[in-house]
Symmetry: C2
Subunit: 352 residues, 2 copies
């Protein structure tokens, strides 16, 4: 078993208001690299920020790192167009960040990225892959891809108030600019990704197809973005069993409608509740209040803890506090990772 | 503690006869990526070969992988210009392969590679790094750098008969083309690397300087190439304690003169004998006969086994047989990893 984290960037994240209010695009571009660093090293190394919302909600990378410390699973990072820096080793399958979905083409290299990822998915020797993502702006591109494929949109948000109207407008404009009506890319997943997706979706879909074609079991670890990747896989004509492992926070989100979407795609859904309401701690309170919800493989990490005899969910919560404290103890909300006073003094709340 | 493997390529490896007789440059370029794959995954994934000499001597990556399976240490791969493919996640610090040392400039990006590696070495959160390399042709560039710095050359080889005369001629021509006399680059390590080195030497030197400057202990895991990297560190004015951990095969090689070189550089030398003469097996016989000797961090891996209470050298030999059998059992010497009949049907013996 191996956890694969696919990291990338889309300029869609720069659309004002589509991600957390007040987030600085210059900072948000560092989120994917920082997330990889946190899972790999337990702290940012070359990435200059700890991704934390202004209200103090930490990146879900904290939960995935905590699970990794408890269970010791291997992680492979995949670079599908990281814009910022990272000190995490990664396998490169992309060609830089994706464009704004409102451009005629959002992912010019969708096919190449998909094929390189497919080859990697087939080559990895593991019997099971658990695949997660980190890409700010990714729920909007997921909405775009689902619309282009003609699937019932299901879109979560890292925000308590999901800016769904804005996402819908951006996606409608994106489809328009690409000359697509909803459903026009049904059966043509690469067209959907190229038009209104992001490079992480291309890579996750390719990895999944390559893995299942070589007999590897795939668990998609995440919410609506991973469900959109599953839709791409289905529209590629691949009907192998797939599981989506997500958090109770995504499952509880009506606007996400994750159960209906996975059901219509023939994807098994497993929902894991980390029991954050049992603890009062800034690492968990914001999740209970509906922020963040998912990302960086968190749903899959929770699932692995649930499956394991080696650690309980209470152990995980305790370890999340440890990881959080090492990263953030003593910091004011929004203070940067390097100790203050730099250009990175306000950390973004990534929309995933 | 973390093992860092720096992989790259130099066109110096293409000089006829400088590496194993009959080696095909097209295949040899895959050695670094394959070595990373073997240590990371236990087998080549995207790399199309298992690096094995025509006589059946397997890459020292087998020993490092075996030690990793026993001890479970983390590995970070660093890409300092891998020419072939790899399915191993890596941190990129380079800008492609190095040129032939007989070109006026062998490593145009030496300074950038060094600085990026230095930043990485400072950023990694470990208290100790064990740094190894994989770059075919690397002992010739090591000779070049030592000459340029004015250090007493010490040069090992993966061949039982070290083609020292050829290496000396190539290096003399390289110095000449770069307008350098021996010793002209003393105190100017980047000039030495740029003129007659390779990108892996730039990266190892940078990593080491960054690590020791941030209080991290460094063990250089290898033979003459790592000693050349130590010389670069000393000529950068860094006199922090350094250890070179090498194999008994390098230490027994008179032409390598590793003890004298490390002594003159103020570097502690530890030599570990894996006791291969206790076993008769193709994974070990060629080492006893003087082939390969070192590479891919093997000396450091042996050292870690020696330090550990969790595994003995006998355990390591047993595990080396396992790893070898998984990679190569039933194959004829020189047969390719993918099962025969392709363009990769003759595997090179890399010179490291």
């Amino acid at each position: 078993m191996r956890v694969v984290l696919v990291a990338g960037t889309t300029e869609t994240a720069d659309v004002p208001g589509i991600s957390a209010a007040g987030a600085d695009p210059e900072l948000m571009r560092h989120t994917p690299g920082a997330d990889l660093d946190i899972v790999t090293h337990g702290e940012p190394t070359l990435a200059p920020v700890v991704p934390v919302s202004p209200s103090g909600c930490p990146t879900p990378a904290v939960a995935t790192r905590a699970a990794r410390e408890l269970l010791g699973f291997d992680v492979v990072c995949v670079d599908a167009g990281i814009a910022g820096r990272t000190g995490s080793p990664a396998i490169d399958v992309g060609n830089g960040p994706g464009a704004d979905v409102r451009e005629p083409t959002a992912v010019p290299d969708a096919e190449e990225t998909y094929e390189r990822a497919r080859e990697l998915g087939a080559a990895l020797p593991d019997d099971r892959l658990v695949i997660g993502e980190t890409i700010p702006g990714g729920t909007t591109t997921a909405l775009g891809v689902l619309r282009a494929l003609g699937e019932e949109p299901s879109v979560s948000s890292s925000l308590p108030e999901n800016p769904l109207d804005l996402k819908r407008r951006v996606v409608a404009e994106g489809l328009d600019e690409s000359g697509l009506a909803p459903g026009d890319a049904a059966g043509d997943p690469l067209r959907a990704v190229a038009a209104v997706g992001d490079p992480v979706l291309a890579a996750v879909a390719g990895l999944t197809v390559g893995a299942v074609e070589s007999g590897t079991t795939v668990t998609l670890a995440g919410g609506t973005q991973l469900a959109a990747a599953a839709a791409l896989v289905r529209h590629a004509g691949v009907d192998a069993p797939l599981t989506l492992a997500t958090t109770s926070f995504v499952a509880a989100d009506d606007s996400a409608g994750i159960a209906g979407l996975t059901d219509s795609l023939g994807v098994d859904l497993t929902v894991t509740d980390p029991g954050f309401d049992a603890v009062e701690h800034p690492a968990m309170d914001a999740y209970v209040a509906g922020e963040a919800k998912e990302g960086v493989g968190m749903g899959g990490a929770l699932r692995l803890v649930d499956e394991s005899a080696a650690a309980s969910m209470a152990d995980l919560r305790e370890r999340i506090v440890d990881v959080y404290d090492r990263l953030l103890a003593g910091r004011e909300p929004g203070e940067d990772a390097s100790g203050g006073g730099t250009a990175t003094s306000e950390a973004p709340e990534p929309e995933r």
